[in-house]
Each structure stands twice: as C-alpha cells, then as structure tokens.
Amino acid sequence: MNQALLFSVFVVASCGLAYELIAGALSSYLLGDSVMQFSTVIGCYLFAMGIGSWLSRYVERHLVARFVQVELIVGVLGGYSAAGLFFIFVWFSAPFKLALYLAVFAIGVLVGLEIPLIMRILKRDLSFKDVVSQVLTFDYLGALAVSILFPLLLVPHLGLVRSGLLFGLLNVLVALWALWLFRAQLHNAAWLRTQAFVSLAVLAGGFAAAGQFTTLAEAHLYADEVVYTEATPYQRIVLTRWKDDLRLFLNNNLQFSSRDEYRYHEALVHPGLSTLPGARRVLVLGGGDGLAAREILKYPQVESVTVVDLDPAMTQLFSTAAPLRKLNADALLSPRVSVVNEDALQWLEENDDSFDFVVVDFPDPSNFAIGKLYSAAFYRLLEKHLSAGALAVIQSTSPLYARQSFWCVVSTLESVGFVTTPYHALVPSFGEWGFVLAGRRAYKPPAAYPVDTRFLTPETTPALFQFPKDMARVDAEVNRLNNQVLVRYFESEWRQVIR
C-alpha cells in the first residue's frame, strides 16, 4: 500500500508541475513576454502551494477522504485551466490576467495540500525519516518527468488544452485508486466514488471534445462570425461578418473591412484616374474583389477594365455571393469588365496590350514570392504596358508602420525611370496607408473629382500628398530580384509593430 501511495505522489507531483507549466506557457503564448509571464506565474503558484501546506494543519480528521476530494477538485480545476483561460481570453479579454492568477492561486493552494496530506497518511506506517525521504524523492521525480515530457511530447502532440485535461484525468484516477486502497477505512465511500466518476466523466468528455473546442476558440480569434471559408490552391479565403461589417482575410491577413474599404479604394483609384479624362483602357492587377473595378467603372469614358487575379475562387465568390456583389456593385459582372484568372507576371510577359491606367493592388511584400511583384524587373515589365500618357498606382504598404518599405517601393519605381508621386490616406481598419503614382511625366493632383466619392474631396486632396515628419522620405535601396531588400525591410519593420 505504501508503494502505491508513493506512486501516487509521483503522479500528483507530475500533475502539479504540469498545471504550473500550462499556465506559464498559455500566458506567454497569449500575452507575450515569456520571462515575465513564467516568472510571475511560478512565483504565484509556489506562494499558493505554501499557503496550501499551511492550511493542511486545519485538516484534522478523515484524511483520506479529504485527500480524495482535493484530488478531484485539482483534477477538474487544473484539467480545465488551459481551456477555461483560453476561452476567457478569447471572449472577454480584459479580466484574463485576473482569471489567470486566480486559477494559478487556487490550483497552487490545492496542490500545496496534497503532499502534506499524503505524508500524514503514510506517517501511520512509516518513520518520519522515511516518509520525508521517500515522498520528496517521488515528488521531485514526478516533476522531472513532466518537465521533460511537457515540451517534447505533450505540447507538440496534444496541445495545451488536451495536455491539461490529460493531467486532470490522472488526478482523478489517483483519487479513484485511493478510494479503492482505503475502501475498508472509509465511511462514505459510495458518495466519494460518485463524485470521482462525475469528475472523470466531465474531464473525459472535455478531452474528447477538445478538438472542436480549439477550432471554436480559434475561429473566435477572427473576432467575428466566420461566414465563409475556402482553401484554394493559392490561398485560404475567410470572410467574417459582424452586424454590417464584412471582412475579407486572405491567409489570415485582413484585405478589407466593408466599413471603411471605400476609403482605401477611393484613394487607390481616384487621385490617378480622375486626372486622365482620356483613359479608355484600365488594368487591375490583383483586386479580385472587384472593389477597385467598382470605383473605375464610375468613369463613363472607361471602355474596358481588365482584372487579372490568379485565383478563380476569388473572382467567382465576388461575382456570385449576394452581399459581396452588393459591395462591389456587381462590378465583376459589368460588360465593361473582363476577368482573367492568370498569373499577373506571366500575363504581363505574354501580353502586348497597353493601358491608360493600371492599378497594382498586390498583397504586402511579406515573402520572396510576393517580393518579386515589387522588384525593378517587375516595374520595367509594367512600364511596357503603359500607353503614352498613362499612370500606374501601386499599393505600397504603410508609410507609418513600414516607412522604409514604403520608400523602397518609391526608390525602385524611380530606378527604372518612373516619375513618382507618393501619397497616403487613413483607412481605420488598416491604419495609415500608402500609395505611389508612377508615370513618365510629372503628375498634378486633380482640382475636382468628376465622380461621386464618400471620402475624397478636392479640398482635402493636397493633404494626401504631404508627408508628416514621421513618414517623411528615408533612404532605401532599390528592390531587385537578386537582393529582395524590400522583404527584409518589411519583415523587420512589421515585426517591431507587432511587438
């Protein structure tokens, strides 16, 4: 029986350390700053264990029954700690820290109770010297086992939520085992057994449902209801809705929010196109959402809009789904619009058409593949498709958050002979956003907009072209295929923003 109890010390110690590690890992995963999170979580936990040990003096009778109950509470509370904290973080982000330290404290107190109780149970048969040496040996062995298994096996294979539930189950099994070992000494064994089986069922159910639970919680990280998802060969398309706000995410990056996308698309199209009364043929590279096309179609002189977007699923979605068709005013179905589902680069290489206005609306240069679409070689190719007085406009990331990246796009356009006019606009869901107009001649901003706008006015337009001190031009190298400096600038600048 003593060996059995010593083994349960091993299990109990494992579980105790596991809860501590789970809380530390979860808080550093969700809050960042892992040194701070681990240090405070461990400190709070150890302090709570001290309190638990001190409280154990008040447990005077029914030691085994109390031990069983402590195990059951620890099992359920600790087992669900990761899941619960994750839920609290996702649904009510504010009291997360309070909940975290409360949970850590509660579990710590209960774990602090366990070992003194076991030592007192064992003391009936063993000398004090043996109790201390054997219990503490198994206590530390259990801690060692978990500290090795936790990062190597448990977190990679089970994840935090399921690892937590697994240790909860172990605590309950120890309780059940204790009930069986001491079945002769217990008065209310049946009642305790019922409690244990209920705990076991609660934890096992949680373990079985953990997969769905995680998806649910992660879906909630999108903040809003996910109304559409599709994984295409090119990207993952996710559409979310909250009240009247539709948001499009491609590979988890926000592309637009229907609440303020008009600011982005008006700023993208009108400063350039409104100065080209003779523009007949317009090209949109990227922009399979049809929102830039919607703005372009406002100009009656435009005869054709060619939208080149690689992903047929995107243009299909935005020409069939009712709320999206409403958003782009059926732009992709307009007889003036032709959709080409091809690789923009390949299409430019294999096509000789020239255009009076070109909108270049690619994703931000976050990897080497997309970085090619911002290279001098690409702009040289683009230049061949511009008619005599044509302009191109390039979405160029944020001049505020990624200042050198933005000016790198400007330097690169200039390196192939373009006259550039950089400007910026505030799009609340993105922040301060940048664009560059490129042409063969100097550009003059419009004195009036010949089309309806919600954001732009002739009076406020000059301000778009003024760069405050914190966005003013900085030196940047030319982005070439053989150096890809833009991707490096972009990575280091956005990394700092995210921190």
Binding site: Y234, L310, D343, A344, L345, Q346, E349, F362, N367, F368, A369, I370, K372, L373, S375, A376, A377, F378, R380, L381, R480, L481, N482, N483, Q484
Partner: protein
C-alpha cells in the same frame, strides 16, 4: 565505398521498395529515361571496328567537339570574319556540359548551371556576355551592369543539415566557436590569395593560364587540399565538409584527392563585381548554362551560317601531306567520312586522344595522365513545389549535407511568377568516393529505377511529399564528365603539352586547363581560334589581351 558495397546498397534499396516488405504502400516510381552521353558509340570506338571512310572532303579549319571549347573557337573565328570552318559533334546537338533540356514546365539544365560574375582578366567571357546583351556598357569596366533577369534571384543558396534549412552553404548552426574561428582564418587566407599579385599576374587567375608561376604557389600543386588544410592547422570537420563540397561540386572529386592549388583556386580566383549585384552573385537561367552555348551557336550561325555537323564520331586522327585528317563515323548514315583540314582544333575531352590519334606517342602518353570524373544528373519534374522542413525558404541552389548527392537547383527560380507552380529540380551527384573506373561501372550497371529510388529517398528527407509530386524522373549519366585536377596535373608537363601550340594542331578543351569551368573552356577555344588565325595569316583583334 567499395563498388560491391555500393551495389549491395542499391539492391537493398530496391528490395525495400518491393511491396509487402513492411513499409507503407508507396506510389509507383515516376516514369523517365536513362540517358547517357552516347555511351554505346564510345564503346564502338574502343572496339575499333568502325568502317574506313567512303568519302573524303576538305575543309580549311576543322573543330572536333561542339562543347564550350569548340563553340568558343567557332565563335571567335566567325567574329573575326573567318567562316571556312566546320564543327563536328558526337551528340545530336551542340553545348557539351552546357546543354539544357526543355519540357512543358520550361527549360532545365542537363549539367553546368551557372557562371560567376566574370573576373577582370576573363576578357573573352566579358566580350561574349556583352554580345549577348547580358553585360551592359563597357565589357572591361571594373563593375559592369548586368541584365537583372540573369542575376540569380534571392535567395541564391541554402543548406539542409540536421533537419533544418539554413541560409548559405557554410554550416553555421551548432558549429563551435573554435570551428568558426577556423572559418574566419580560412577565409582571411583565401582573401589574401585573392589579393596577391606577383608582378602583373594574380596568384590564382581565371583563366588559370594567367596565374602567377611563383614557386611557392606551384608547390601547392604537389599535395592534396586536405593535406594542405591539415598542414595549415585547419581540422574543423565542418570546414572540411565545406571545402570537400566545393571540390566535389567543381571538380567531381573530394578534397582528399584534389590538388591544393585547384582547391585554393576555387576560393581565390573570383574577383568579379557588378554595379547591380553583390560580388558572390552568379549568372543563371532556367536552362542553366544552356544560354551561353546557344548564344555562341547563334552568333556563329548569324555570321557563318550552319557550321555544325552533329551525330559524327571522330574515330581516327592522322596527318598526311602536311594536312590533318579526321575520320568520322556517322551512325545515322551508317557510313564513315574523312575530313582533311589544314588546321585542326581538338575541342573534345582528352581521354579520347589515346583511342583516336594515330602516332603522336607523346600526346597519347600525356593524355593518360588525366583521369575523368563520372557524374550523374537527374531532372525531376514536379507537379508543384513540395513541402519542406523548417528554416530558410527555397533557394536556387539547395545543398544537402551528409548526402551522396550535392543537392538540386530549381529551374523555375528565375521565372517571374506570382505563384510558383510546376517546376523541375535538377539533382547533381559526382560519383566520388570510388575510383572513376568503379564509378563508370556503377553508372553502366545501375538501372534507372534504382537511381530513381535512391534519389527520391534522399530528397524525401527535406521534402516528405516529393515522391507523390514527381511526375517524371530522367537520369543522365556521364562517365567522363570532367578532368580531375589531382596533384601534379595542373602544373605538370602533360597538361602543358595540351596547352601548347603546334603548326597544324591545337587543343581547345577545358581539359587543357586541367579542370572543367566555363571560363577555362571558353578561354581555350578563343585561344585556339586566335592561334589558328595567326597560322593562316588572317587579321584579328585579340579577345585575350
């Protein structure tokens, strides 16, 4: 590894791939071909049973071999306004080690796949690049501008080691401070060699003919690269791996066999710079170096018309009445042809000399000083890019550590595409670690399926799903891919004999330099053309001074 042991490994790999041997079911091996460099014809040459010529033709200048050496000779003749020449080639097309293949994905290399930025002294290379429009502006400028499409796109190279991809080929992760200290000392020493000049000559020039002949430098050609490293106190295992990789990559044989002069030349000869690229950037295209061979062939065709006779095996070279005669076997016609030339430029590998030349005992004996490394190249056509282990993103050249192969280059790397779709990986392997004779026997005895199995197993480590994505796997064997610069070859008498001029015969193959680099082959070709023009009394402007 012994050949027997090697074959046993292959057999084991073949058995393991049989169904029902415990492993999960695997997709069948992708289809493909086993292609050799006209191996059967070469063997007929050895057998010596080719019929005597039924027809004789005369040509003022005859070039045997349409690899880079032969093409460069023709290119220089044509550029100098001399068009009375013929280039004969054993294979169906020109290009030699710079040939490329093409399929529905695009072009891919069959062997050599890059050209480093040319050195200051590689004047003929610069002249060619300027003609092809790749080097822009003054071809002799210290830092010319190059066409961006030919400069290798970032990232250029990465290394797979211990389950992780790192940037660059020099092993860095988990390498001790002491080893890194050796790295620094090694590269400082190589930099000193790169800077060193003895009078007008650089210590290690490219072309090598222009190198200093200082005694301490030539002495480096008497010991192996490994012995030299150890003598300098370099014993760091990862440094040895890196230098060994470089030797296998450029010379087809490891650092234990390569001469220290050649080993150091690899690191110390290059000083090319560019206005628009870092100095370690290389020039490359989807088809590897195919564009260089095709560029010279087109330049010749534009100036001199069709000067190539392909599918013709030169099987006897003789001299009579003050002229050179070359007997050719043309398998398509099933008959032999004798070409009688005033001037002969031999631009084929030197291992053929003992089998082909009549008389010429000194040349034959010198040719026997050479040994040639067997190589294997495989082209894997992939439906899309495979998954990969963590670390650095896909580069142009992807090197595998602790692997019999050198790694692979990605044919679509230079493509301007938004989305990387289907591609061709070209896998390289020098059959080093055994004698060339053993390597050639392995090449001859191993079926394509065994190679395919082995290569896929090797590439599955960094790319777990590559087997499912490979739609075709062609294997190319070359039993004599390149001369091996063993100690004594480069600065010995044998090689110097082939580098010398004679009244009617000269050699225009990289073998005359002792190692196979584009710059060497092109230099030998241009040099042979200029010597020929001089003998014929034709005016020309030298590309070499």
């Amino acid at each position: 590894m012994e050949r027997r042991e090697f074959l046993a490994t292959l057999a084991a790999a073949g058995l393991a791939s049989l169904p029902g041997c415990g492993s999960p079911p695997r997709p069948p091996l992708p289809p493909g071909d086993l292609l050799g460099s006209a191996m059967d014809l070469g063997h007929r040459l050895r057998a010596g049973d080719l019929p005597p010529p039924a027809e004789t033709r005369r040509v003022p200048v005859l070039i045997v071999g349409a690899g880079i050496g032969g093409l460069a000779a023709g290119w220089k003749l044509a550029r100098s306004g001399f068009t009375d020449f013929l280039i004969v080639e054993l294979e169906g097309e020109a290009g030699g080690n710079s040939r490329s293949g093409r399929n529905e994905v695009g072009a891919y290399p069959l062997a050599a796949h890059y050209l480093p930025l040319p050195t200051r002294e590689a004047t003929a290379v610069r002249e060619l690049l300027a003609e092809l429009g790749v080097l822009q502006g003054d071809p002799r400028a210290a830092r010319p501008r190059y066409d961006e499409r030919y400069l290798c796109a970032t990232p250029q190279e990465r290394l797979y080691r211990n389950g992780w991809w790192q940037d660059g080929v020099l092993p860095l992760l988990g390498v001790s401070a002491a080893e890194r200290q050796q790295y620094r000392r090694f590269f400082a020493l190589m930099e000193a060699f790169r800077q060193r000049r003895d009078g007008a000559s650089r210590a290690f020039a490219l072309p090598m003919e222009l190198s200093s002949r200082a005694a301490d430098l030539l002495a480096l050609d008497t010991l192996s690269m490994r012995d030299w490293l150890l003598a300098q106190g370099f014993d760091a295992p990862q440094l040895h791996w890196y230098v060994d990789y470089a030797c296998r990559d450029d010379y087809g044989t490891g650092l234990a066999e390569v001469s220290a002069w050649a080993g150091i030349h690899y690191f110390a000869c290059r000083n090319g710079e560019a206005q628009d690229a870092a100095s370690d950037t290389v020039l490359t295209t989807p088809g590897g170096n195919g564009w260089l061979a095709q560029g010279m062939a087109q330049s010749i065709a534009a100036r001199a018309g069709d000067r190539l006779l392909s599918g013709a095996l030169a099987f006897r070279v003789g001299a009579a009445d003050g002229r050179m005669s070359v007997d050719l076997w043309r398998p398509a016609q099933q008959r032999s042809l004798r070409l009688v030339a005033e001037q002969l430029i031999w631009a084929a590998p030197l291992f053929l000399v003992p089998h082909v030349f009549a008389g010429q005992a000194a040349l034959k004996a010198a040719a026997r000083h050479y040994s040639h490394a067997p190589w294997l190249v495989a082209n894997l056509t992939l439906a899309r890019f495979p998954e990969q282990r963590a670390g650095a993103s896909t580069a142009w050249d992807n090197v595998l550590h602790d692997s019999p192969g050198l790694g692979y280059v990605v044919s679509t790397h230079q493509q301007m595409r938004q989305h990387a779709g289907a591609t061709v990986f070209t896998y390289y392997r020098a059959l080093s670690g055994m004698t060339p004779q053993e390597g050639r026997a392995v090449l001859q005895e191993t079926p394509r399926e065994a190679w395919a199995e082995q290569i896929l197993a090797e590439l599955e480590r960094p790319h777990p799903d590559i087997r499912q994505l490979t739609t075709r796997l062609d294997v190319h064997c070359n039993g004599h891919a390149m001369a091996r610069p063993l100690p004594g070859l480069i600065w010995g008498q044998a090689r110097r004999l082939f580098a010398a001029d004679a009244p009617r015969l000269r050699f225009a193959h990289a073998d005359a330099s002792g190692f196979s680099l584009f710059e060497e082959a092109q230099y030998r070709g241009v040099l042979a053309a200029e010597r020929t023009l001089r003998r014929l009394g034709k005016p020309f402007t030298s590309s070499l001074s």
